[in-house]
Amino acid sequence: MITLIDYGVGNIFAFQNVYKRLDIPTKIAKTSSDLEGAEKLILPGVGAFDYAMQQLNASGMRDKLDELVLDKKIPVIGICVGMQMMGNKSEEGREEGLKWMDAEIKRFDESLINQRTKLPHMGWNDVVPVRNHPLFSRLEHNAIFYFLHSYFFKCNDHSNTIAVSDYGLQFTSAANVDNIYGIQFHPEKSHQYGEILLDNFAKI
């Protein structure tokens, strides 16, 4: 069972649909009691960092999430802004992050981007795993994913990076510390590659 955290930001239904096709049951959590007994969590996110943090803080789920993730160590994956929220702070806003991973969220340096189009980083790009990792099983070669963002996740500990992509500079497109995972791209909108990745997460 995968529990999708619904705090009013992000694309819950798209994840539900992918898992329906994979025949893996999901549940939507809107309140702290919905989170009771969760085995695996997805923290989606689109849009602005501050708005997403404020919505999550106002959802009443914060304490329960900290308990599940930090004490009970159940697997959790943050998607796009959901990943960024797992870090310490973002240059996009003033709100504090969840601090589940030691990372700062930085804006891409436009001067390094060698094309007319600068930001956002939008479209399909390569995601290259830096080591064997169960999240990228069957995705070791030639996987492309859909990105839509202007800020990226900068791990303070490089060993947390599990996959990289390139946009002006090489950045962390997937990270992992213990039971905590984050991916910058949108697997729910990345056709078969995304489906494989979400399947892999379900099997972790």
Binding site: G47, R116, G123, W124, Y146, D166
Partner: protein, 259 residues
Amino acid sequence: MLRPRIIPSLLYHDKGLVKTVNFKSPKYVGDPINAVRIFNEKQVDELAFFDIDATVLGKEPDYALIEKLANQSRMPLCYGGGVKTKEQAQRIFGLGIEKIALSSAIIQNSKLVTEIAERVGSQSVIVVLDVKKKVFGGYELYTHNGKKATGINPLKLAAEMQQLGAGEIIINSIDQDGSMKGYDMSLIEKVAGVTSLPLTVLGGAGSLQDIENVIEKHGVIGVAAGSLFVFKGPYKAVLINYPSQTEKNKIFKVDNNEN
């Protein structure tokens, strides 16, 4: 490598999908949900969906339909049509849409771009500019499906939209719409010259070669088409189609072994 995006553009009118010529004579081409399913199978880079009735009839976006589209779509989806407030935009995002296209509403209130960007992030706010050549040179912005001339210079507006926090510009040529004679390359060049935002061009594609021509010149760009992806053959039989990964790699000049 970040790839260019090849984007089918779907028009919704009178409960069905249609394709127009010069924004006129809508021809029925199919059911929207069915089309999304087929484009899923074809692994489309991104899909754009425009409700061309909403603004003209002064209607709210059809949330039930948008929800169905978003649920079906395994690719990024851009929705446009009738969005006038940040509350509407927020609601549409909640239904699982990645990008919202604004058009006529920004003429009345350009701050709307900023307001929505603050809520959902710039990357998700798209400004669609429907433009027509002026008789004595230059371009003019139109709204309401090409019926209302605004007197606005679309190039100036495109530059302004970047300042206000838009995340992408879609430039749609009314003159080329449905013609299948190729994109207005000089228009694309002009818009590319005034903004560093991601740009998607629409109007005129009649072949993959037309798409390749744009990509060759502009590199990472969104290339959208209506007729090309819903019609087949000289008699324009309705048949949804889209280039395969191999064909796309050829257009993008990506090594097939690489992807």
